[in-house]
Amino acid sequence: MRRFLVRLYPSAWRARYGDEFDALLAARSLGPFDVADVLLGAIDAHIHRRGRAASQNRRGLTMTPRLAGQAALVGGFLMLIGLPLLTQGLFPGLFPFLAGAGALVVALAGLSGFQSRQHQLLVWAAFVIPAAGVVMCWVDGVAMLVGARGAGVSMFGAGITTMLVGSALFAGVTYRTGALARAATALLGLGAGLLLAPIVMPESPAEMGVFMVGAFVFPIGWIALGWSATRLDHRSARAPAPASS
C-alpha cells in the first residue's frame, strides 16, 4: 500500500522527496484520512510538477542575504581604506574606493531584493539611487585612471553625492523595515550624513574633521549591515540538532 501511494506521485517529485516520504509513511499506520490526503497530494504534485528541478533552481535565493552581507563586508572594508585616502589626493584612494563601491552595489542589490516585500517602491528607490551614484563614480573614475580625462571631480563628485544620498535613503528604509539590525542602519545613515555635511556646507571650519569621522562611520555602518545580513542567514544553521520522532 505504502509503495503504491508513493508511486502515485510524478517521477521528478519521487526523485526529490520519494525516499523521505516513504520513510514517513512507514513510520505511521496509515488511516483513511492519510490515504485520502496522500491521494490529494499526488494530484497536486502532478498539477504543479514539483520536484528536483524546481527546488534546485530556487536554492540560490536562500543565499542572497549571505552573499549580499559578504559583499557589504568587503565593500565596507575597502571604503574604510579608500575614503580617507581620497583626502590625500584622488588617485591613492581611487582603486579601493571603486572596488568598494562595486561591492556595495552587489550588497545593495541583494539586500534590496531581500527586503522588497515590504515598502516595495521605497526599497527599490533606495537601491537605484546609490547604484546610479556608484555607476557615475565608476565611469568617471575609470576614465581618469586610463587617462581619458584629467582629475576633474565634477561627475565623480556628483556620483559620490548621489551614492551618499542613496545610502542614507537605503539606511532609512532598512531601519523602517527592521529586516536587519537597526543599530547598523543607524550607523550607515549617520555616516552618510556626516560625509554629506562638508559637501552641503563646504566652508565649515570643521569640514575635514566631520569628513574624517564620516569616512570611518560610513564604512563601519556597511560592515555592521553586512554582519547583520550574514548572521541572519546563519541563524537557522545555529539551531539545535534535528529532533527525533
Binding site: W13, R16, Y17, D19, E20, F21, D22, A23, L24, L25, A27, R28, F33, D34, A36, D37, V38, L39, L40, G41, A42, D44, A45, R50, G51, A54, S55, R58, R59, L61, T62, T64, P65, R66, F114, R117, Q118, Q120, A179, A229, L232, D233, H234, R235, S236, A237, A239, P240, A241, P242, A243, S244, S245
Partner: protein
C-alpha cells in the same frame, strides 16, 4: 504583492504551522507532523505536509539538510524567519484588534 506565506493559498495555514514548528530548530517530516498535532490538536496529513514543504522550499523559506538515514530534516532560512516574524506580528495585531472590539461590545 502579498506575503509569500499568504500566496500559498490553501497551503498557507499548513505552511505557517510548519514554519512555526521549524522555528524551534530543524526537524524531519515525521517530527513536524507530531509537533503540529501536539501544538494544535489537529493532524497534518502526509500529503499536505509534503505539498507545503515543497512550496516552502521553492520559495527559499526553508531548506533541506543532509538526510539522516532516510529522514531528511528541514530548517528555517533567514528569509523564512523574517517572513514568519512578519506573518505572526500581523496575526497578533489582528487578534488584538478582535479582542479589543469584543471587549468594547461586551461593555
Amino acid at each position: 504583492m502579498g506575503s509569500p506565506i499568504q500566496d500559498l493559498g490553501r497551503f498557507a495555514e499548513p505552511a505557517l504551522l510548519i514554519l512555526v514548528s521549524l522555528s524551534e530548530g530543524p526537524k524531519h517530516g515525521y517530527a513536524i507532523m507530531a509537533d503540529v498535532e501536539a501544538g494544535t490538536g489537529r493532524p497534518l496529513g502526509p500529503g499536505t505536509l509534503y505539498a507545503a514543504l515543497a512550496r516552502l522550499e521553492e520559495r527559499g523559506l526553508i531548506e533541506a539538510l543532509a538526510p539522516i538515514e532516510r529522514r531528511r530534516p528541514y530548517r528555517l532560512t533567514g528569509i523564512g524567519a523574517t517572513n514568519l516574524t512578519e506573518q505572526l506580528k500581523g496575526l497578533s495585531e489582528f487578534a488584538g484588534l478582535g479582542l479589543r472590539r469584543l471587549r468594547q461590545t461586551s461593555r
